[in-house]
Amino acid sequence: MTDDARPVVEIAGATKVFGTGPTAVTALESIDLAIRAGEFVSLIGPSGCGKSTLLRLIGDLTPATAGSVRVNGKPADEARRGREYGIVFQAPVLFEWRTVDRNVELPLEISGHPRAERRARALEMLNLVELGDFARAYPWQLSGGMQQRVAIARALATDPELLLMDEPFGALDEMTRERMNNEVMAIWRRTKTTVVFVTHSIPEAVFLSTRVVVMSARPGRITKVIDVDLPQPRTFETREHPRYFDLVTAVREALRQRETDGSLVEGGRGGDVAARIRAEGYT
């Protein structure tokens, strides 16, 4: 939440089309978005609105069909090759043959850090997510929430300026999710990392973010950007703040507005788009 306003992510006219010809699906259409250093930005919208695709464009996991995506002032692919962001998926994606600490070490191994440094850093990150005692455990010995915390520790191991999170708590139960949200807030305050967070939970988006980007489907567009002016630090009390309820309502209305104006005409196509995006993601 610094005011230096240096942009970490700059997206201009980004469009993503899957497939060609008559079966082509426009997942994103001319997206413009700038995210400044230290911001916590949530992307929210219905299934098929392209929020995950947008995140994947920023991470250069898929190329934009048109438009430009810049990270830290560089094209997205250059930033990726410079290892300038960490990523957390909906599933932990831990390597089951590696112990927890060696999972966290993985990105450091790839960037060629010496062993001793890796060890120290992995333990530091595991302590950050309060899993220091589980360093030598194997992933299967951990609960789903703990596994996801390991994934966060791994994403933070290289001390990236940008953290991309793709529905990281979507598979967790509500209570675990709230606890994880509190932890993410604590980590964000301590590390000052810029976060782009994809979610389909309105309370989660409002609680975590400094800005909520509301998207709509068919084609994927940004319909509204809502500044979340809730006081920092966000704690358990934040969820009882009257302003919190106002903002939750505001996001909900922004989401519903799109549903009622026109997109229902094409009803049923949403599933298609979601399926295509998923299929693309897995090849």
């Binding site: 990726r80 290892r83 990523i87 599933a91 994606v93 112990t99 790839i110 290289t158 993601g281």
Partner: protein, 314 residues
């Protein structure tokens, strides 16, 4: 814990994992099960002989009591006769007879022959595994080569080994090394097939994770593809282990090497009419060798993958 959160990384390794982690039986229960199966098999064997085997007669005295009993089976089947299916105890007894007049007992000869064949099989297994994995790696790396060569790899396995073996022996001479080559020919195929699958089996998101970390193709191989393929490779190596024993035995036949189980089989076949149980004893030795070899692979797998999986009974 939701299913999505704990899904194993190897996307479709479920079946492989089952066989990799042993069922939740105590060692005692397992030993009991194995003994039970073997005992049942022997009983059925003897029941068949009782019902349809050759007739026999006991004529003598036991502790001063005269015994005279004649057994006439109600049916007659040639496959249950003593020539085709010797009594279990004659086969067991064959191990303890001298192999030749004044020579060492059969079991000693068979252990020697098994060790000789094991050397050929083991060297062939290692060569075949390395070749099989190398082919798999090349094919996964270069799709075009996979398209071009996999049909020939498959074809190589439809050619009867019995036609390949003499050619190899003529090329490389009648030595145990050429037999090892023949064993390797049978070994590499399952490993290649498993590598083609296993090297691609990791979760697609794991590949994305490495992409986000800007990992090189070599790093992706060592840190993801190879470790993710381990359960697949071991399933193949277990098949290869027993196949390499078969390959070694068949390879010994045209090379005329008398020291291994193949040579022993040729000899037993020659004397089958006078001593069918000898061939059966050699057969048992060959089977035990295969089981032992597969067991060794199992041990190697357990050592390499300790801790990696949730124990079946936990």
């Amino acid at each position: 814990m939701t299913p999505a959160a704990v899904r194993p990384l190897g996307a479709s390794t479920r079946v492989v994992r089952r066989s990799a982690s042993r069922p939740g039986l105590s060692p005692r229960a397992r030993a009991l099960a194995v003994t039970g199966v073997v005992a049942t098999f022997f009983v059925l064997w003897e029941v068949l002989k009782w019902l349809a085997g050759d007739p026999w007669r006991i004529h003598g005295s036991l502790l001063g009591v005269r015994v005279d009993y004649e057994h006439l089976p109600p049916f007659a089947l040639s496959i249950a006769g003593d020539l085709a299916l010797p009594h279990v105890w004659s086969i067991v007894g064959a191990f303890f007879e001298p192999a030749q007049r004044y020579g060492p007992p059969v079991w000693e000869v068979l252990i020697g022959a098994s060790l000789y064949t094991f050397r050929e099989a083991f060297v062939g297994f290692v060569l075949g595994a390395v070749l099989g994995l190398a082919l798999g790696i090349v094919f996964v790396r270069v799709r075009l080569l996979e398209r071009a060569f996999v049909p020939y790899v498959v074809a190589s396995q439809t050619i009867p080994l019995i036609t390949i073996a003499p050619i190899v022996v003529i090329y490389l001479g009648a030595s145990w090394t050429s037999v090892a080559m023949i064993a390797a020919y049978l070994t590499f195929f399952p490993v290649t097939v498993a590598a083609l699958r296993g090297l691609r089996a990791a979760d697609p998101r794991a590949f994305e994770l490495l992409r986000s970390a800007a990992a090189s193709e070599t790093q992706v191989f060592w840190k993801l593809r190879l470790p993710a393929s381990v359960p697949y490779l071991f399933s193949a190596l277990r098949i290869s282990a027993s196949a390499s024993v078969v390959g070694a035995i068949i390879g010994e036949l045209p090379s005329g090497i008398p020291d291994g189980l193949g040579g022993q089989i040729l000899q037993d076949v020659q004397y089958y009419i006078t001593g069918p149980e000898r061939l059966w004893a050699t057969l048992v030795a060959a089977a035990l060798l295969g089981i032992l070899f597969v067991g060794l692979v199992r041990v190697a797998e357990t050592v390499l993958t300790t801790g990696r999986y949730r124990p079946a009974n936990a």
